[in-house]
Amino acid sequence: MRLLLVEDDLMIGRAVRRGLLQAGFVADWVTDGRLGQAAIANEVYDCVILDIGLPRLDGLSLLHELRAAQNRIPVLITSARDAVRDRVEGLNAGADDYLLKPFDLDELIARVRALMRRQSASTSNLLTVGGLTLDPLSRLVTHEGQEVSLTAKEFSILEVLLRRPGTVISREKLEESVYGWGEEVGSNALEVHLHNLRRKLGGDVIRNVRGVGYKVAE
């Protein structure tokens, strides 16, 4: 899960990013609206956490432009403006959720997960395909009733694949989804993680569609 955080307050930005990383998300962070807009245009993010009071381009204008361009990416607004009018304005502009500052890290993460769930039209956080179950909350993976121990990157890759079971996801897309900015990505790092995953789960869970990408069989 790769998230984009748009927040101009340096302390809040650093803390939220760190908290998201600790929770197993991949999170990138920009400090103004224009940079946020440019980052979203890359289409690598699953969700945007957007502050309203931003320099250069404020959060609401960014959101308006995003929705006007038919971009459906889930957006969670964080703001210190607590008037009902402000919240209504934010939601009307196309936000999927509104979180008031000061907020709790757990609540932020729970709401981001809820947005993801809504995106995949599921009522549970649990991602289940066949005998494989992944719980993004507890970061627990079980296969045929057996708990499987995964590294953070392996977990992220599996989560991306399980969110769209049966869909072939390109190598590039997978890479973008599990690596944040500034992370060194070796030329075959993804293949190494995938190899390890298949070793731990058994070869037939993750299928390689040669020349296209990877998928989890439905």
């Binding site: 101009d8 307050d9 340096l10 302390m11 809040i12 650093r14 803390a15 939220v16 760190r18 908290g19 600790q22 400090t31 103004d32 320099p55 250069r56 210190a80 500052k101 000061p102 907020f103 709790d104 890290l105 757990d106």
Partner: protein
């Protein structure tokens, strides 16, 4: 002791003057009546005397010497008539038990007889002497009786007036009660002015003054409320940061991560503390706070002001290898609060040091600009774009340059400077700083 009462004062003065008036009227009545009675009775004494002295009418008297005439004695007039022979023998007396001294002087006289004063009228005739007498106190009694008859209507008048006065006062006070009731409904949340309709003229000035007071209170409350709202709003960001930093710290597993989270947390606390200090400074520097109104303006030397602030900030500057320098013209004096001007300059220098970065240059200058004493703080930091300059002086505004820098300011520093400058009728302006970059903040005081 009872509080003073308009009601009571009015009653005392009105009834007091009515009572005195009644006494004056009574006394005047007494003396006027006495005067009239004197005239009438003197006349009647004379007439009676002359009548008795008439020889034709008086002849039969001789045949009834000293005949008692008891029915006459009780008359209210207490008139005594007697006749004597020229040698003094009593020929006749209407009241023989009253003996009057014989006086052979014609006309009116008075004499004392057994403790009673008598008015006597004497007529001398060849064959007799006729005397008609009457006690003086009869006249006084008549006058007093006549005057006392005035007292009853006067007393009734006093009663009537007091009754009407009580009613009038009650009606007047009821109007006060209406005003009082309207006042009672005023509180911190509803300070709208009192309606002037139906307010008696006497209390109108009071109500108008109250309305002005309400207006000022309302303005002060509004200012406070918006300040608190702004402050609470501005505290949200640092508090959000603190909350997140604590949670990140809780979840950090290895020691390096923990140390980093700890450092973040303490810088978050420092930032919150700075914001609170700035808020307090701002609230005491705002023109509407009236905090320093008890201290009159003092003469502040800009030279020593610059010296103090630069010395205080030099430790911080040295630590960060910032070249902090001062240049002062001697004899520059402005009128105002030394403490507040120190906050002003301190904020300017602090701001410059914060944004200038290590190895930067900050100049603090006190000089005369077009004859007016001025303070200039010039740095070679990121500066503020011309477009953003007007907004920089607003409360809580942070320029993109300020946000981009690593330091996190409260956005209040320049607002405090502005508030203090306004109090001193000084103008704050922003200019481009050293070497076509950086920022110069200029505070120009009114020329003395």
């Amino acid at each position: 002791m009872n509080p003073p009462s308009i009601n009571r004062q009015l009653m005392i003065w009105t009834l007091g003057s009515l009572a005195i008036g009644a006494l004056v009227v009574g006394a005047a009545g007494y003396f006027l009546t006495l005067h009239e009675v004197n005239e009438v009775l003197d006349d009647s004494l004379t007439q009676t005397g002359l009548l008795l002295a008439d020889p034709d009418l008086a002849a039969p008297l001789a045949s009834h010497p000293a005949a008692p005439r008891a029915n006459v004695a009780d008359t209210e007039s207490k008139l005594v008539a007697m006749a004597r022979s020229p040698d003094g023998r009593l020929l006749f007396s209407s009241q023989p038990e009253v003996s009057l001294r014989f006086e052979a002087t014609a006309g009116s006289s008075t004499q004392w007889q057994n403790g009673t004063q008598w008015n006597v009228f004497t007529v001398l005739q060849p064959d007799r002497i006729v005397q008609v007498a009457q006690p003086v106190n009869v006249r006084r009694e008549v006058a007093a009786e006549s005057a006392s008859q005035l007292l009853l209507p006067l007393a009734l008048l006093v009663l009537l007036i007091s009754g009407l006065l009580v009613i009038a006062l009650r009606r007047g006070m009821r109007m006060l009660g209406v005003v009082n009731g309207a006042l009672g409904q005023r509180n911190v949340n509803s300070l709208e002015p009192l309606n002037l309709r139906g307010v008696p003229v006497e209390v109108l000035p009071l109500v108008v003054t109250l309305n002005l007071l309400f207006q000022r209170l309302q303005a002060a409350f509004d200012a406070q409320r918006s300040f608190v709202a702004n402050a609470a709003h501005e505290l949200r960001s640092p508090v959000t940061a603190l909350q997140l930093q604590v949670q990140v710290l809780e979840r950090s597993s290895d020691s390096a991560e923990k140390a980093e989270a700890m450092a973040e947390l303490s810088s978050g606390i420092a930032r919150t503390r700075r914001l609170i200090e700035q808020l307090l400074r701002l609230s005491s520097a705002a023109p509407d706070s009236g905090v320093d109104s008890q201290a009159g303006p003092e003469q502040v030397s800009l030279e020593s002001l610059v010296q103090e602030v630069v010395v205080r900030q030099s430790v911080d500057a040295e630590r960060r290898s910032i070249d902090l320098g001062a240049k002062m013209d001697a004899g520059l004096v402005v009128s105002g609060s030394a403490a507040q001007l120190q906050i002003l300059l301190n904020n300017l220098v602090e701001n410059a040091l914060r944004y200038v970065g290590d190895n930067g240059v900050v100049d603090v200058i006190a000089e005369r600009i077009e004859g007016a004493p001025a303070l200039r703080v010039i740095d070679d930091g990121p500066g503020v774009s011309v477009a953003d300059r007007p907004r920089v002086l607003e409360r809580f505004y942070r320029s993109p340059e300020a946000i981009a820098s690593v330091e996190t300011g409260s956005g209040l520093g320049l607002a405090i400077v502005k508030a203090i400058a306004d109090r001193h009728h000084a103008l704050v302006s922003l200019h481009t700083g050293r070497d076509e970059k950086g920022l110069e903040v200029r505070v120009v005081f009114p020329a003395s």
